[in-house]
Amino acid sequence: MDIAAIVNQLNLKVRSGKDRLNNNVTGGYTGDLLSDVMANSSAGDVWITRQIHQNIVAVASLKEHAAIILVSSCEPAKETLERAQQENMPIMVSDLPAFELTGKIFNLLAAEK
């Protein structure tokens, strides 16, 4: 499944990386502690978080995440968007809280397998 499919089905707002929406999503990870995400997420994951500062881009980029999705209508900080454009990292915003968004994406990915 690519990011574009998740964006369409869950009405996500795309804030950066519009030309990378064909990135393949192989899993997901939800968390706001950067060390936890560093240690336990995988390449190809969508990372679901409510952290909006620019350091999330470095983590996502180092871990080769497919995209970052911000929950509860949290908007990325200006510096985060600039960094995301440099690194070409897609960032989307959802109006759902982390629990609900995680469940929906989990089901989308499970239905595909």
């Binding site: 502690l33 950067l34 060390s35 936890d36 978080t49 952290q51 350091n55 470095a58 983590v59 871990k63």
Partner: protein, 145 residues
């Protein structure tokens, strides 16, 4: 080993304490260098994780520091040397969840007390020495094979 040997790369990067704006950029650079060399993905990923944690520790707790990268035919060695507050009790600091991070650091999602623990998990060899009010020296080795 000759300096001209393609298998040997040596680089050094300065890290500024307290500068969260650039936190992670050195790890990103080192990751691209290791990728360009053509090391296996798992080696690149493990190196990136230990390097990132070491970099964040310098930014969070030290005045300044340096990260040295050495790629030998058998290993990736990452050394993080800082001038800072040091660690009074290394055994305690290694425990997952133990942290002395302030509120500002925690609000950004750092300071979860997982950094040294993650390094210990992902490095094949991890040496740490520290002196209070002087600084901390980490040496992390990831075997290529």
């Amino acid at each position: 080993m000759l300096e001209s040997d393609n298998n040997l790369h040596k680089r050094s990067f300065d890290i500024e304490g307290g500068n969260f704006t650039n936190a992670g950029t050195v790890s990103t650079r080192i990751k691209s260098i290791l990728k360009e060399i053509g090391l296996p993905d798992t080696v690149v990923r493990r190196s990136a994780i230990v390097c990132y944690e070491a970099e964040i520790n310098i930014v969070s707790y030290a005045k300044k520091g340096v990260i040295n990268l050495t790629v030998t035919p058998e290993t990736v060695e990452i050394e993080a040397i800082d001038e800072g507050q040091g660690i009074p009790n290394i055994e305690l600091a290694m425990q997952p969840g133990y942290s002395t991070a302030n509120q500002q650091i925690r609000e950004m999602g750092f300071g979860a007390g997982m950094g040294l623990h993650n390094i210990n998990t992902y490095a094949d060899i991890f040496d740490i020495t520290s002196e209070v009010n002087k600084g901390t020296h980490l040496k992390m080795i990831i075997k290529k094979h």
